[in-house]
């Protein structure tokens, strides 16, 4: 911990502080002002213009009684759990790249992982949307070609789900029961370039002497992963975990593009962010949307604090 310095000493070269003024102004203007404005407007019945009506805590009370909002946390909970598992392929790939003995190949694999990042996210979403097309999409074609569709139909007949039927293409985004599975399948094989690079950075900080000692002890490759690599990249895993939770809670672009503003059939794809968007832009209830945003903020803050406090990293 750095030693405290006296105010006199701190202000000795006060002019240097001017260098951070532009950044502070930008952060204040673009980050804190909108947030403060959202807090202010959450106390009003406001449709986005100059006319607004003070309603006190009315919007917050309404949020507490909003079934759609609270039900959307079920969807988001499932997606968060799924996303935890979806982090695994990135960890494995990072380990595989790390273990390559050739620096040249390591470099090329890193490039290959990063390359898809240049494709705009929207394009990827559109491609996936096409994958899910019931009649001409790749997913149904693969299921038909491999005979997996017949297996699904048999399972369906067994459990009487009424989702998969012979001769009827699977409407991945048109059938309420398939919406959450579709949102989970999205992005297969779930290798995120940022995740791989962050895990790789953690792995590369592990000293070679650790591996040499492990080799002398006759540790198997999987044991190396379990007892050396995974514990030593826990900081990175935790970072990605926090970012993932925040991203999943805040995000709604995927649901908006695949399912529309209503959250798809049965509203099964409704997530808090999409509901906030729906209230603001479809219902014109901007003040209420601000209150929803504040609830979301509190949730994210609480989850991050819990994570920081209880998910400890012992190296």
């Amino acid at each position: 911990m750095p030693l405290p310095i006296s105010p006199k000493k701190a202000l000795l070269e006060w002019k240097l502080y001017l260098f951070i003024v532009p950044s502070l102004v930008a952060v204040g203007l673009f980050s804190y002002f909108p947030a403060a404005s959202a807090i202010y407007h959450s106390f009003f019945r406001w449709s986005g213009g100059d006319v607004k009506e003070f309603v006190g805590f009315g919007n917050f009370v309404a949020v507490l009684q909003d079934h759609v909002f609270w039900n959307s946390f079920i969807t988001i909970g499932i997606l968060v759990i799924a996303n935890v598992f979806k982090m695994i392929p990135s960890i494995f790939l990072a380990v595989l790249i790390h273990r390559l003995t050739s620096d040249r190949w390591q470099y090329w694999y890193r490039v290959l992982v990063v390359l898809p990042m240049i494709v705009p996210g929207l394009v990827t979403l559109f491609i996936w949307k096409f994958f899910y097309d019931p009649n001409f999409g790749v997913l149904n074609k693969v299921l038909d070609a491999t005979g997996l569709k017949t297996v699904l139909v048999h399972i369906d007949n067994l459990f009487r789900w009424g989702i998969f039927q012979e001769g009827v293409p699977i409407a991945w985004l048109g059938e309420p029961s398939l919406i959450i599975p579709s949102l989970i399948i999205w992005g297969f094989p779930w290798i995120g370039a940022v995740g791989v690079l962050i895990f790789l950075a953690g792995l590369q900080s592990i000293g070679t002497e650790v591996y040499e000692a492990a080799d002398l002890d006759g540790v198997t490759p999987f044991q190396k992963f379990l007892h050396i690599e995974l514990p030593l990249i826990t900081t990175q895993v935790r970072l990605m975990f926090v970012l993932m939770i925040i991203g999943t809670l805040q995000g709604f672009g995927l649901q908006f593009l695949l399912l529309g503003e209503e959250g798809g059939p049965g509203g099964k794809g409704m997530v808090p962010g999409l509901w906030m968007f729906n209230r603001a832009f479809l219902a014109g209830e901007f003040g209420y949307a601000c209150a929803l945003g504040l609830f979301l903020f509190v949730f994210i803050l609480a989850l991050t604090m819990i994570n920081n406090k209880y998910v400890r990293v012992d190296k």
Binding site: R45, S47, G48, G49, D50, V51, K129, Y132, D133, P134, N135, F136, G162, Q165, V168, P169, I170, A171, W172, L173, G174, E175, P176, L258, L259, G260, E262, G263, G264, P265, G266, G267, N278, F281, L282, A283, G284, E285
Partner: protein, 539 residues
């Protein structure tokens, strides 16, 4: 070598930066005309990205700029999907373009707050019609619909200048139709349509070539389904009282719903829903997850025989399809239809359709007089002719000859009054969401009319109440906005009793405000009624 490459890189970066900066500076601080005057920029935003429209707007802008070298018209096309969000952000942020297409994302309150009423303009002759028989005709009377497409019924003001007409049609691939049926005869009734879809299914099975009878999507399917639904409420609509208009009046049908004159269990509604379910079976499975573009793609690729869409898509389809296609009215059940014939009066009159693609003038415009002049230019007969010739869209101005391609889409005035839809027009956000979220129960392979009705019954009227309350709030806010203006005009008319123009303006606004008050009171009456109905239902 590395140093040279770095120098080249930095130089290129610096060059790009300087070019960008100078371009922005030029746009910001203004281009100059040859005479040294600053060029006035008028920005026009719209969501019509269909084939031909942007070219048409560019051509109209070019013509205007030839007449006014000191003005530059910039077109801002915004995709329909994000138009609402873009528009609200621009309006609220005070960065809205001068001229904006009115429709998506516009409520009465936003119209009153952000747009300039064009009622005065509508009453004056259009100077750009000089030399024609419309020379002395007030602007509003130069339109095929009396400029109703730009008129707001609640605010009682003109806010938009429409430039095109539109209609909904069923497009049919003629080559494929002939291949399947042996003739190019179009289905005239719903019975013909269903018979045709069966022929398509047989053809698909026989030749192992999957053909979708009707390409559906969450955009296209409701166009067809709503038309079929309202064929079932035609007679009911007559029962509800004299309409006095060829358009359904949402307030009247909402009141009738609350009064119990119709409801989810009414035979007409059940029949309409049954009709929707039956026709949905002729669309590809999972059509409600498909977008408008995908559905159009199926059609132009010859994978679907038919698609229902608006006249606005005709140019795009003709540009992409390599086959001739016909456009016909959506066939309705004949009166002899055993299941659906009893509720039908007959094909609807399209005389009640108003002209569309209306452009409004925003209050943020730095040059409202130039923007207004450009709107008048757009509304002139000559310019509208240029528009229809280039876009192949229907004209909006009297005496403009539609292009041959647009003729099948001309509105047919003969026919009966249409019925009412399940969800009324307007900003019915929550009722629409309720229906959309449960629509799969109606059109899905394992769904049924009963399942759909059961799923929405409990919340249908409470959600109508939520929407009514929101709409009333908007009306009241729109009224509040006018208070200051009314007070000021009242003061002017009192202090200057001889000022006829101020007096006229004061009278006009007072009349409009009284009408808005009436509207707000009626809405309040509806809210009370709906609330009472909910209480009764829960007891």
């Amino acid at each position: 070598m590395e140093r040279i490459l770095n120098t080249i890189g930095i130089s290129l970066l610096a060059l790009c930066f300087v070019i960008s900066l100078s371009r922005i500076a030029m746009l910001r601080f203004g281009e100059r005309t040859e005479a040294g005057d600053k060029v006035i920029e008028i920005r026009l935003a719209h969501w019509q990205l269909e084939g031909g429209v942007r070219t048409a707007i560019d051509k109209m802008a070019e013509e205007y700029m030839k007449l006014h070298p000191g003005v530059r018209i910039t077109q801002i096309p915004i995709p329909e999907r994000i138009y609402r969000n873009w528009l609200i952000t621009q309006l609220v942020g005070g960065t809205a373009p001068d001229i904006i297409q009115i429709g998506i994302g516009i409520t009465d309150e936003r119209l009153a707050r952000f747009f300039v009423p064009l009622t005065d303009l509508a009453q004056k002759p259009n100077p750009y019609n000089k030399g024609t028989d419309l020379e002395d005709t007030p602007l509003r009377d130069t339109f095929v619909d009396g400029m109703l497409g730009g008129f707001n019924q609640n605010l009682l003001e003109y806010y938009g200048v429409p430039i095109s007409g539109h209609s909904i049609r069923m497009f049919i691939n003629e080559d494929l139709l002939e291949e399947i049926t042996g003739s190019r005869d179009l289905p005239l009734t719903y019975e013909d349509l269903i018979a045709l879809t069966k022929q398509v299914d047989d053809f698909s099975q026989k030749h192992g070539r999957p053909i979708i009878p009707i390409a559906g999507s969450r955009y296209n399917s409701p166009l067809m389904m709503t038309t079929l639904f309202i064929s079932q409420t035609q007679k009911k609509m007559r029962e509800l009282g004299p309409p006095g208009t060829l358009l359904e009046v949402p307030a009247r049908t909402t009141e009738a719903l609350v009064d119990g004159d119709w409801g989810l269990d009414s035979p007409e509604v059940l029949s309409g829903l049954g009709l929707m379910r039956e026709v949905a079976a002729e669309m590809q499975p999972g059509f409600m997850q498909v977008t408008r573009d995908d559905a159009s793609f199926y059609f132009v690729q010859g994978r679907a025989l038919m698609i229902v869409t608006g006249s606005w898509d005709a140019t795009s389809i003709s540009q992409q399809a390599n086959f001739p296609f016909a456009a016909t009215r959506i066939p309705l059940p004949s009166r002899q239809h055993p299941r659906f014939g009893g509720n039908v009066l007959g094909m609807f009159s399209e005389a009640g359709l108003t002209a569309g693609m209306a452009f409004g003038l925003t209050r943020d415009s730095e040059h409202p007089e130039v923007a207004t002049d450009f709107l008048q230019f757009l509304a002139s007969r000559e310019t509208n002719q240029l528009f229809t010739n280039t876009s192949k869209w229907l004209p909006a101005v009297l005496g403009v000859e539609p292009d041959a391609q647009a003729r099948p889409f001309m509105m047919e005035s003969q026919g009966y009054t249409p019925g009412f839809p399940l969800v009324n027009a307007g900003a019915r956000a929550d009722t629409s969401r309720l229906v959309a979220n449960n629509f799969h129960l109606l059109v899905g392979p394992t769904g049924s009319v009963e399942q759909f009705v059961a799923a929405i019954r409990e919340n249908f009227i409470p959600f109508v109440l939520v929407d009514l309350t929101r709409e009333q709030r908007e009306i009241l806010q729109a009224i509040q906005r006018m208070d200051v203006q009314l007070a000021a005009l009242g003061e002017v008319s009192r202090s200057k009793p001889d000022d006829a123009q101020a007096q006229r303006k004061f009278d006009m606004i007072t009349a409009a405000m009284s009408a808005r008050d009436r509207s707000a009171y009626f809405q309040q009456h509806l809210i009370r009624k709906t609330d009472k109905r909910i209480q009764e239902d829960s007891n």
